[in-house]
């Protein structure tokens, strides 16, 4: 089954997730010796999302992109602010539908390539209403299944 785009979700911007939190939340007793060394927290949004207003989340379904590191059910972070370049993995609109593929520019031809030898590359017909919807910046793959 080819890789499909199943779900689209916007990223929620501006809400940070605190992963590490040192602090003097000690009502009594000795202050922490680490207090002077606190440098804030790591914000995963900051790490993964560079253009919040242009970033959307997309759920991939299907197996045609496994060699590119995209598995069935993965969450893709799509950055529409990035301009697509040869070799990028993109969300594309082709014949009115969304699909996830690697984009290749070959002379005057545009190819959409699944990263799986079992599926053929698609040549975009010049008359097709083709459009790159966004560039896939990251894939988030869940390791634990519980």
């Amino acid at each position: 089954m080819p890789s499909n785009v199943k779900d689209i979700i916007a990223c929620r911007v501006g809400r940070s997730l605190r992963l590490v939190r040192y602090g003097a939340n000690v009502p009594a007793g000795f202050p922490s010796p680490a207090d002077d060394y606190v440098e804030g927290h790591l914000d995963l949004n900051e790490h993964l999302i560079h253009h919040p207003a242009a970033t959307f989340f997309v759920r991939a379904s299907g197996h045609s992109m496994v060699n590119a590191g995209i598995f069935d059910g993965d969450l893709l972070i799509v950055d529409r602010a990035l301009s697509p370049q040869d070799g990028d993995i993109v969300i594309a609109v082709l014949f009115g539908e969304l699909t996830v593929k690697r984009i290749r520019k070959r002379q005057d031809k545009l190819l959409l390539e699944p990263d799986n030898a079992a599926y053929p590359a698609i040549e975009v017909p010049p008359e097709a209403n083709f459009q790159v919807w966004g560039v896939v910046a990251h894939a988030i793959h869940r390791m634990v299944r519980r």
Partner: protein, 421 residues
């Protein structure tokens, strides 16, 4: 110069970003309760279907032309609107969000070619958000608005029109009907027409003292703005909320107190949620109910009452209790109610809110309950976790028969996009 950036058929465009199969197909978006058409794609405009048409009056056209119909999906439109505004911000020193789908973008002091910059604004918003926009450019807000009307009037303009050049301005304002000038309502337009003023240019050249006498100071400012003098300035800071209102029309008439109680409890919960989102507490809560005033043949009744909680509060349970107490006082049986709502007033910062020495302290249980409630509902969608008073079966709920999923704000309303390659 000021650019008015105006999203084209905004609600329709939002739907199309996530449903690319709708591109090029006629599409309308309906008002709350699926009553009237509030947004039309260009294909529908070309069919001559008017803005505001009740759906039932155009049923035949909808069927014949296979017009795609959507209920309004404000969760989606609100989120996309914020994205458009945020995309404009790095491209201008001042961006004033004027409405859900329009922003005044100030170009003063930018050392750029204005037309080139307008193309950049347009290209960037389209790429980053998928929303097509038109850009009108002029030295004042009113002229920028006028230019944006003209930008849309002819596809040859490619969505950009400028009246920056005074020589071009005369011709442009001659083409613009006076009723389409920002700030001239239909009533003034009729009055002006009687006086022989039918174009924006004629209004601009009208006698200022006469305009002031006929159209007050607001009308005079409009004329000055048309002459290129700035009277309306950027309004950056939205005034802090003075009140939070939450109300809905019912999908069908409601008569029983039980149904009204559920509706009011729901409005109170959502208003309280909004209150907490802004870190405010309410000193007063009012509740209102009304019958359908357009049904003049059925008995009419409407009333409201304001209830004061013991101390300013942001707690859902307290606000539900207050508003239900109020509702029971104003409820009269035997009427077909069309609308109910809740308004929270006397808002203060939640941390500054005075604490009463004698009032019961809020129980720790409820103070940790509400943040949990908010977190769950943020994650799984509004009303996922609710007070029992809100109830579950809402046969009176607003009609939203053709609503698309909340693609961008709700994890459990994820769209399934089928792709065959």
């Amino acid at each position: 110069m000021i650019a008015l950036v105006d999203c084209n058929n905004f609600y329709c465009s939002c739907e199309r970003v996530f449903q690319p199969e709708l591109a090029g197909r006629p599409l309308v978006v309906l008002s709350n309760n699926d009553g009237c058409i509030v947004a039309r794609s260009n294909e529908v405009k070309a069919m001559g279907i008017a803005m505001g048409s009740p759906l039932f009056k155009v049923r035949d056209l909808v069927r014949r032309h296979q017009i795609v119909v959507r209920s309004s999906n404000y969760s989606l439109y609100g989120d996309m609107s914020q994205r458009v505004m945020r995309t404009l911000e790095p491209l201008s020193p001042i961006v004033e969000a004027y409405s859900i789908d329009e922003a005044f973008v100030y170009l003063d002091g930018l050392k750029v070619d204005i037309m080139e910059h307008a193309r950049l604004l347009r290209r960037t918003v389209l790429q980053h958000t998928g929303i097509p926009v038109s850009v009108g450019i002029g030295p004042t807000k009113t002229l920028a608005k006028a230019a944006s009307k003209l930008a849309k009037s002819d596809p040859r303009h490619e969505g950009i029109f400028s009246v920056a050049d005074p020589a071009a301005r005369d011709v442009a304002l001659e083409r613009l009907a006076v009723k389409d000038v920002w700030g001239v309502g239909p009533r003034y337009a009729r009055m002006l027409a009687r006086e022989g003023i039918v174009t924006a240019r004629a209004l601009r050249d009208a006698d200022l003292a006469w305009v002031r006498q006929k159209m007050t100071i607001g009308g005079m400012r409009t004329v000055l703005e048309l002459r290129g003098q700035r009277c309306f300035h950027a309004e950056m800071e939205p005034p802090p909320s003075q009140q939070i209102v939450r109300s809905r029309s019912f999908g069908r008439a409601v008569e029983s107190l039980e149904d009204l109680e559920q509706a009011v409890a729901m409005h109170a919960s959502r208003a309280a949620e909004k209150l907490r989102g802004q870190h405010l507490a309410a000193g007063l809560a009012s509740v209102f109910i009304a019958t359908n005033r357009f049904k003049s043949d059925s008995p009419q009744y409407g009333n409201s009452i304001t209830v004061k909680p013991a101390i300013p509060t942001d707690a859902t349970n307290t606000l539900i209790a207050c508003t239900l107490r109020g509702l029971r006082r104003i409820y009269r049986p035997g009427y077909a109610y069309k609308k109910a709502g809740v308004m929270l007033m006397d808002l203060t910062s939640a941390t500054d809110a005075p604490q009463s020495l004698f009032a019961e302290l809020q129980s720790p249980q409820s103070s940790s309950l509400d943040p949990t409630l908010d977190a769950v509902n943020r994650r799984f969608g509004p009303n996922t976790l609710r007070y029992a008073a809100v109830g579950f079966e809402h046969p009176w709920a607003m009609r939203r028969q053709f609503c698309s999923p909340r693609y961008t704000t709700c994890w459990n309303e994820l769209p399934a996009v089928k792709v065959r390659v």
